[in-house]
């Protein structure tokens, strides 16, 4: 019996870490490791606690930074919402999508159409509009997902690539409704009264339109991540990972592969739609040029850099995507480059970071840190048990 209780041998230090890089950033679903925790046992309470802490953190962050930073956080929020959905699809379920930019376009155009009302008329309430944007993308995502569930690897990439290239073309084709190449200007909704008084009591900062949009983005981000985190840590997330890892074995366990793949695609599309809605009101424009393949690829690089399958990773990857280029550009101008050269430096540095990450941390930020941590914990446990045997 002893051999099953005390794992030993040379490889023991890394035994507790997952072997594959894909799985490195996936924390096991709720308490599946049986580890101790000071957080509440109930998933709902635990996630609500984290949500409240993050909300307070976000208010502090947004109130202590400049309006320019506020607008960057608004940008971050829509990237992170879409990346969160994508990391669930690609990281947890193993389906690649190059078409998430197009799904964001569905959300953005829905929002633009809903806000495009005659002067004097009131548009629908903003939460409802964003919900409809998410819903529209969910429907499109479900349809695409049904097709995608039968495809794998490069074929799936090809099919979703067609979506990324084709769907914005629809906006040009139906230019009377969607405004063609120029796109639709979005009349961003004004900040309501209660928001102005809220900001006034919290910090006394002026409650500008930018600030309102940053808050809208961050609130959407927190709500999305709350729901996604619930799914990731539940049976749903575990089943997705099982389908990703070994489809034959999953099927024999009674899992209908198609259903679960479509479900993942649909959930992911819903997040992309909401991200598109937020993008539309933050950028104040829904145009085909905003939803090119580059957007879809940026989302993919963000989740890979952050650590596939991890929501925190998706957030960090998106942050890199949003904050690194301006940072590098500023650095370039400081070093005496002219503005064009400085702007060209940013994509180069991003590329270098991407290559370096793939070389030295293929599991992404979160995956690498998690593997290190598990290894360290295992080593400490081994040292402790070695200590006790030598004493005894």
């Amino acid at each position: 019996m002893t051999d099953s209780q005390t794992p030993s041998g040379a490889g023991a230090a890394t035994d507790e870490a997952p072997v594959t890089a894909t799985a490195a950033a996936n924390a096991p679903s709720a308490q599946a490791t049986g580890g101790r925790s000071f957080l509440p046992k109930s998933t709902l309470l635990r996630h609500l606690l984290v949500l409240v802490v993050c909300a307070v953190g976000a208010v502090i962050l947004l109130e202590s930074t400049s309006p320019f930073r506020n607008s960057q956080f608004a940008t971050l929020s829509y990237y992170a919402i879409a990346a969160g959905g994508l990391t669930l699809l690609t990281g947890l379920n193993g389906q690649i999508s190059l078409g998430h930019g197009a799904l964001m376009a569905v959300g953005a155009y829905t929002t633009a159409l809903m806000l495009d009302v005659e002067r004097g008329e009131d548009p629908l309430p903003l939460p409802l509009i964003l919900l409809l944007a998410a819903l529209a993308a969910t429907v499109v995502g479900a349809i695409v997902g049904v097709a995608a569930a039968r495809l794998h690897g490069p074929y799936l990439a090809g099919a979703t690539l067609a979506l990324a290239v084709g769907l914005p073309g629809l906006a040009i084709y139906f230019h009377d409704t969607f405004g063609g190449e120029q796109g639709m200007t979005v009349r961003a909704p004004r900040a309501p009264e209660w928001f102005t008084s809220f900001i006034d009591t919290v910090s006394g900062n002026p409650a500008s339109g930018t600030k309102w949009l940053a808050y809208v983005g961050v609130v959407c981000l927190l709500i999305t991540y709350f729901f996604l985190a619930n799914l990731v840590r539940s049976r749903i997330g575990r089943t997705w990972r099982a389908v990703r890892d070994q489809d034959v074995a999953a099927e024999l366990a009674g899992i209908n592969l198609g259903t679960w793949r479509v479900l993942a695609f649909t959930v992911s599309a819903c997040a992309a739609g909401l991200a598109g809605g937020v993008l539309a009101i933050v950028v104040r424009l829904a145009a085909p040029s905003g939803f090119t393949l580059v957007l879809s690829l940026s989302l993919l690089t963000a989740i890979v850099l952050g650590g596939l399958g991890s929501l925190l990773g998706a957030l960090l990857g998106s942050a890199l995507l949003v904050f690194l280029p301006p940072f590098v550009t500023d650095l370039g101008t400081e070093w005496g480059l002219n503005s064009t050269e400085a702007a060209q430096l940013a994509p180069f540095v991003y590329g270098v970071v991407l290559v370096a990450a793939m070389l030295f941390a293929p599991a992404g930020f979160v995956g690498t840190i998690r593997m290190r941590w598990l290894t360290m914990r295992a080593k400490r446990a081994m040292a402790a048990s070695a200590g006790s045997t030598s004493r005894g």
């Binding site: 507790e16 096991p28 998933t43 619930n230 049976r235 749903i236 575990r238 089943t239 890892d245 074995a249």
Partner: protein, 296 residues
Amino acid sequence: MGPLAQPPPHPGSQPHEHRTPTSRLELSGISVAFGGVTALSDVSLTVEPGQVHGLIGPNGAGKTTLFNVACGLVRPSAGTITWRGEQLRRLQPSKLTRLGIARTLQGVGLFPGLTVLENVMVGAHRHAKAGFFSALVALPASDADERRLRERAGAALAELGAEGYAGRYPGSLPYPVQKRVALARALVAEPDLLLLDEPASGLSEDEMHELGDLIRSVCTRMSVLLVEHHMDLVMRVCDRITVLDSGKQIAAGTPAEVQADPAVTEAYLGDDVDVEADAAALTGHPTRTDGGRTHG
């Protein structure tokens, strides 16, 4: 001594009631052709409730094909599959567990990105009650469901003496332990019929012995169809054996009957070897308990 030999530990906490198996699997007149090549022709076998049925034969005899027919991965070109008195047609692999059939894969087929406990929890999929929306909003029902699945999985791991590995990832475990986890994953579904595809491959003699004890202990709850080429294991645990050679059924019966059948000896040994010595190896095992390996 490995942990497999232990009896199921805490009978009180085991989620499964003590059921007497009543379901029968009948394959009759099964033929399978892969693009003109006949893999199986007119094979029939019946797995009686609560019995361990062995399926043996030389390499390429069609054991795995028949096995795949039984679980719907391969559709036969002729013949019928009857399970619990009803004919099975167009069987989707994912519907198997709902019908009370579980199978293990040749090799291991564990999910590398899931911990051992999670792997087994996936096996309990058909016992999950909470749906998508209760998971989405993390309702207490979802937590309660997870707890139930975790307990089931824990009990299954304990039955196989693998509970110490619950938090580990399968890739870091020795092969025999992985096999135990895979078996736990099949058992946690609480099937009425367990299909085991070469469960002993890669196991040492001792571990194989423990596996035999385990199979005998689970057949009080379910029927077992076993594909295996380790003759000593098959002879020791099976109630009935079907022997295939080149897609045809050449013998069927109790282990003693099969061993006595000259067609079996011939199929296994051919003509150009020392028939007597190898036949002794084939028949010498049922009473052995020292676990020594004699055939080679």
